[in-house]
Amino acid sequence: MAEKSLLLPKKGRKWSAFKRHIPYYLLILPGLIWFIIFRYLPMYGVSFAFKDVAPFEPVQDMLKAPSVGFRHFKTFINSYYFKILMKNTLEISLLRLAFGFPLPLIFALMLNELRNVRYKKVVQTISYLPHFISWVVVAGLVTMMVTTDGGVINNILKAMGRKEIYFLGDVRYFRSVLIISGIWKELGWNTIIYLAAITGIDTQLYEAAIVDGCGRFRRAIHITLPGIANIIIILLIFSIGGLLNAGFEQIMLLYSPPVYDVADIIDTYVYRKGIIEMNYSFSTAVGLFKSAIAMVLIVLANVTAKLFGREGLW
């Protein structure tokens, strides 16, 4: 079949290649249609951000509404909330990064130094557990630990004769609850990539270091860490790309009006404005503002990764 097509002129060859692949296109087609309907039509829907649409109107009529230009974007950027939302989103993300990024690395190095393979496996398996649990359950567990209504930590505080702390309703403590529960959920899981990278390090390097009299600590610092530096840098760059995702589900489940000042992020604001208040156009505009910046950040992350000589996402 291949020989025959070589005899044809170039255009004919292309056509015959296409024809030969028709069954494969048919296999791709359902997925492609799905992407167009469920991923590209909503992208077309961002045009709502430049209109004024009323709720309860048929969606077809919404699409015909006249344009108002960038009015909603201007309203948002000049609003009282803009600064608070940007600040909260970035601060929560950066706090997560500052604490949540190094800890899995340290944990992975510690796991790597456990001598008993069986014990290591058990610890690993247990540490993956919270990753498989939904945020609803984790939020329930967090509430159980910190609530003033008989929560475990407050019971301990009371037993020690201290005053109770309203962790979930106090602006001083709320973010700590977010960061700590976030780390608790993903700490074990985030070690996987590091541990996989560590097994890829050439064992001869360790053997040579032992011959040269390197202790275990120095081997970890001079062989293991540089051996996984690639992965560390890639993960760091891409977590900076995701800086505007400050943990929507978790915050949605745990926050309440008393802590909006420190906990309200762009995503939760979009949800309240859009779904609760049905301010569709404004909410779409805020969402689009976020998606656009997020895309720029990811593209920048990829460029940075390539500048460092690493393989990017694309």
Partner: protein, 306 residues
């Protein structure tokens, strides 16, 4: 084989190191850390066994060991007429139907795109890839589902999440590992690519279907937000949403009116919340030790070649 030599050379590495204070420290901290991952689940189980008497004598509390374990909460949640059963039915339907359709759509698309000789492969890949960078956002999707008429139906939990592009690409890479010669010989025997896919490729890649299927299944099991915003009919809510209502908004009254009405000494709300968490988490706690290795494998494969 390679694995074995690696481990034995690791062992050799240990033999030269004496056991130091660091090893004790490491073993103990690993144990403590494991403990912090488990203890909340133990407390939630303990608290679910609190009864009316204990709540009167000890007040509102969460405990590891209740003084007089009482199974009243489980009688309410698992008794006749409980809303938990309907929630579970929705969750299981969602998981089974959803994952099946996920695998069908993801698998076929991934297989088609795995053909390196496919004309237009680059454009198709870009169309998929772009959706990983940019999305229309919450409100346009919300309105689209209304336009399509799937809002407030079971399908709003299935159709919008049919293909996860990341997992689709992982699957495509799995397919690329299959030697071309297998397909070529089938082609020469006159089998169509569609038949090759369903009768040769699918059985051959059972392991990767299992891995990706597990990803989708856990996603369906844990999802709550889509149901919470797109479904208003309480009869269509999966168990996660039910749990959120009970645990975080304290609307536990409608769980089981039939039995609740007959109980004079009602269990404390903390116990009911805890029991709800246990009832809706137990299945995943039981299966996760067996499925986690698939996830680890999928995670490693996905991260090495995206």
């Amino acid at each position: 084989m390679e694995q074995k030599t690696l481990i034995s050379s690791r062992r050799k590495k240990w033999r030269v190191d004496r056991i130091t204070w660091f090893d004790y420290f490491n073993v103990i901290s690993a144990a403590l850390l494991s403990f912090t991952f488990i203890i909340p689940f133990l407390i939630v189980i303990g608290s679910s066994l609190l009864g009316y008497e204990e709540s009167v004598s000890r007040g509102s509390i969460y405990v590891l060991f209740p003084q007089s374990p009482d199974f009243i909460c489980y009688k309410i949640l698992l008794g006749h007429g409980s809303a938990v059963y309907r929630g579970y039915l929705i969750t299981i339907l969602r998981l089974v139907i959803g994952t099946t359709l996920n695998l069908l759509f993801t698998g076929t698309m991934a297989y088609g795109l795995s053909k390196r000789s496919l004309p237009g492969k680059g454009i198709l890949t870009t169309i998929v890839f772009f959706t990983m960078l940019f999305s229309g956002g919450l409100i346009p999707s919300f309105l689209l589902y209304q336009l399509l008429g799937i809002s407030n139906t079971f399908w709003v939990m299935i159709l919008p999440v049919l293909i996860n592009p990341w997992w689709m690409f992982i699957m495509r890479n799995f397919f690329r590992e299959i030697p071309d010669s297998i397909e070529e010989s089938a082609l020469i025997d006159g089998a169509s690519p569609l038949r090759i896919f369903f009768s040769i490729i699918v059985p051959l890649s059972a392991a990767s279907f299992a891995t990706i299927g597990m990803f989708y299944a856990v996603m369906h099991w844990n999802s709550w937000f889509d149901a919470a915003i797109h479904i208003t009919n309480p009869k269509l809510q999966p168990v996660q949403v039910l749990m959120r209502n009970v645990v975080l908004t304290a609307t536990s009254t409608d769980l089981n009116n039939e039995i609740m009405a007959g109980i004079a000494k009602k269990p404390p709300s903390n116990a009911l919340k805890s029991a709800m968490i246990v009832v809706s988490t137990l299945p995943i706690l039981v299966v996760y030790p067996f499925i986690q290795k698939y996830f680890v494998k999928g995670m490693v494969v996905g991260s090495i070649k995206g």
